[in-house]
Each structure stands twice: as structure tokens, then as C-alpha cells.
Amino acid sequence: MVRSAWRPAALVDRRPETATATTLVLQAQDWPGHLPGQHVDVRLTAEDGYQASRSYSIAAPTDGDRIEVTVQRLENGEVSPFLADDLAVDDEVELRGPLGGWFVWRPEQREPVLLVAGGSGIVPLMSMIRVRAGTSRAPFRLIYSVRSPADRIYAAELRRRSAEDGGLDVAWVHTRVAPENDPRPPGRLTPDDLAAHGWPPDFEPTVYVCGPTGFVESVAAMLLATGHDATRIRTERFGGA
């Protein structure tokens, strides 16, 4: 017999983040706690027994039995539109996790950290930023690539934290539409962006890259080409282009 690792979890709150991203606050019994960067699998079962499950990064630090995930609604998706639009407070889903031990940051780590996010790839990196505040003085730099200003997830909190959290720098890369006063024209993240807003390789930062597959592969290749050691680059791809 396989042990069942799924535990029931009820929605206790939801917050819109952007037009297409929603944060869900779930409460799961006997949650063991988690590390920033870990994810959960969410399983939905229909009345006829049909099941679908998907992986979502955890967005916030351990807080008792509460787990926050931020869900990006995918057109024609089977699970994300339901979670983003239809799941109501008190409705139950099942969770498996916390999952993953490689794409994680631990507050004991002292070295500088570079976070590179593409789109909703910000979610596990935001968990690292939130845990860092109050537990670590490791210097963090975040480079966050989005299509347009309207697609920034956690925009207000990142603005506030980059002012208040000592040692956190935030740089934005807009790929389609940039804000009016932005000296950087819209376009994909380049080696110049990494050089301007990242750490030099000889600072030996640990680099966490999360986003769509194509984004992650292109950023990882740029990092290697500029001399970052492969063993200090941690990547997480969530599919798509």
C-alpha cells in the first residue's frame, strides 16, 4: 500500500495580485512547516472521482497551519482558472508537501544571493525575500522580468521592501511595455541587465532562477557565460515557452 501523503486544506482567504494572478491562503491540518523555495502539489477531485493535480510554489514563510500560494491563471487551463476564480472560502482541496529540497534558500546561508524571476517565477523567490526579512542579513538582489508594469506580482510589497529591508535591491525588466520614465527600453533580459543589477561572479553568489522554461534556460546560459559557477546556479522551470 502506498502511504497517502495528501492532506485536506481549506481556503481561508484570497487576494488578487494582478489581473491574472491570485494569492490563495490555505489552512492545512498538522502542517509541518516549510523552507522558502519549496512547493506543494494541489489536488482537486470532482464528484465523479476525476482528479487533477498541479504544483504551486509556496509564497510566504511558515505561519502555523497557513500556506500561501500564488496562482497564475492560464487560458484554457483545467486547474488554475478554477483556483483563481471559483474556489471559495471554506472550500476544500488536498495538498501534498512541502516538496523539494534543492531549490530552497536557508537563512543560515551567508553568501550574497541573486534572484532572477520571469513572470510568476517570482513566487518562490518572494518566499525567500519574506523569510530573509528578520532572519538574515545576507545581501539579496532581485531582477524581475515582466511583460508590462500591470503584470508585476507583489509590486507594492517589493517597492516597500526595497526601501525598508536593508540589503535588498530590486530591479525591473519589462519585456513588452515599460513605464514612461524607464530609461530601459522594453525587451528581454540581457547579459547587460545581469551585469548592472546582479553580482559579479567573484562575489560567489548563489543564484536562483525561476520562470518559464525558455526564460530559465536563457538566463542560466548568460550566467554561465559570464563566469558564474554551475554549482551555484539553482533553477526551477514551470513549463510554457
Binding site: P8, L44, A46, Y50, F82, D86, V93, E94
Partner: protein, 199 residues
């Protein structure tokens, strides 16, 4: 017992009588893949049938183009539950390719570029049921959908319609393919919902 999530239905099964049980209708053409997409120029493509006695029959792309091709419109049923109706293909019937092949084999193991395999009874490749297809919807078959040529066996779940097909071994005994080794059904009839071994 799993917890039921109130209001969740998944992709709704259609009530179209052309949909096999447990399938839902899609209008796009999802791409499922077990590895990197092979990019094979037609001039480097060939198709080989190897009989149970080791006799090889080989066709180059040019050979394939000289054979009589058919246009067929068929429904596709993927074991991941999507179905796509009225898809238009052009290809060479396996009846044509196997016409001069002498065999007493009962089984076929299909091989693809990239290492994918799938097995099925030889009789399911015959009598107008299967094609080596090289055009989809009027255009050359793209590499993501199996181009330059794929097997098309639409009466079975789509994992049997091997993309990037390169050959077929004719066998006296059944030999499970890539997914059939991992619990998927040896035959895969969507109308009998033969998804997994034992269904």
C-alpha cells in the same frame, strides 16, 4: 477517500456521441512529448519494415512521395483525455507499404527517432486503418507534431500514432513499447476506455 472539491468538474466531458467515454473535446492541438523534438530533414528520413525473418524493406522520402497517397479525415483521442474531431491528414496507407512484405507475424513494434516505441497487433495496421502521414490540415507536418512523417492509427489512443516514425518491426510475439512497459494498455481502444493494463 479523497476530499471532493466543491464545484470542480475538470474539463467537462462532452455529450457529443463521437467522444469516447472519459474524453473531452478540444479545438487546439496539444503537443505531448517524451523528449527533445527530433529535427529530421526529409532527405535524411527513411522508413524501414523488418520482418520476423530479418528481411528489411526500406523507403526513402522520395520513395514515399512516389507511392499513392490518401487524404483522410479522422478523430484523435489522447489517453490524457482530450479528443480532437475531424482532423485532415495526407499519407500513405500501411496497406500499400506492407503489400509486398511477406510475413506471418501477428505483432508490430513501431520505432521513432528519439527512441520512442509503441506496440500493436499487425492487423490494426492493415485494411485502411493506418497511415504514414506527412501532411496535416493541408500543410507539411511540423516537427512538433511528428514531421516529417508520423504513424496515424486513429482508432487507437494517440500514443500508438508514433511521431517521427522511422520503422516497424514485425514480430511473432508482442513486445511492449515505451508506455506499454509502464502500465499503459497493450491495445488502447478508446471506445472501451483501455487506458491502463487490465482495463
Amino acid at each position: 477517500m479523497p476530499i471532493i472539491t466543491r464545484g470542480f468538474r475538470g474539463h467537462r466531458s462532452g455529450d457529443d456521441e463521437r467522444l469516447p467515454p472519459g474524453q473531452y473535446l478540444t479545438h487546439d492541438f496539444p503537443v505531448l512529448s517524451t523528449g527533445p523534438t527530433p529535427l529530421i530533414p526529409p532527405e535524411e528520413w527513411s522508413f524501414t519494415v523488418t520482418t520476423e525473418t530479418g528481411v528489411r524493406h526500406e523507403w526513402s522520402w522520395t520513395d514515399l512521395m512516389t507511392l499513392p497517397a490518401e487524404e483522410v479525415t479522422v478523430d484523435l483521442h489522447c489517453v490524457t483525455r482530450w479528443s480532437k474531431l475531424d482532423t485532415a491528414w495526407r499519407g500513405v496507407s500501411l496497406d500499400v507499404l506492407l503489400e509486398d512484405v511477406e510475413t506471418v507475424a501477428d505483432y508490430a513494434l513501431v520505432h521513432s527517432h528519439g527512441g520512442y516505441t509503441t506496440n500493436l497487433p499487425l492487423e490494426d495496421l492493415l485494411d485502411g486503418q493506418a497511415w504514414v502521414a506527412f501532411e496535416y490540415d493541408g500543410d507539411a507536418l511540423t516537427s512538433e507534431h511528428g514531421g516529417p512523417a508520423r504513424l496515424l492509427v486513429p482508432h487507437l489512443y494517440l500514443w500508438k500514432s508514433a511521431k517521427w516514425v522511422r520503422g516497424i518491426d514485425l514480430l511473432l510475439e508482442d513486445d511492449p513499447g515505451f508506455w506499454e512497459q509502464l502500465g499503459y494498455h497493450e491495445y488502447g481502444d478508446p471506445w472501451r476506455e483501455q487506458r491502463y493494463q487490465g482495463d
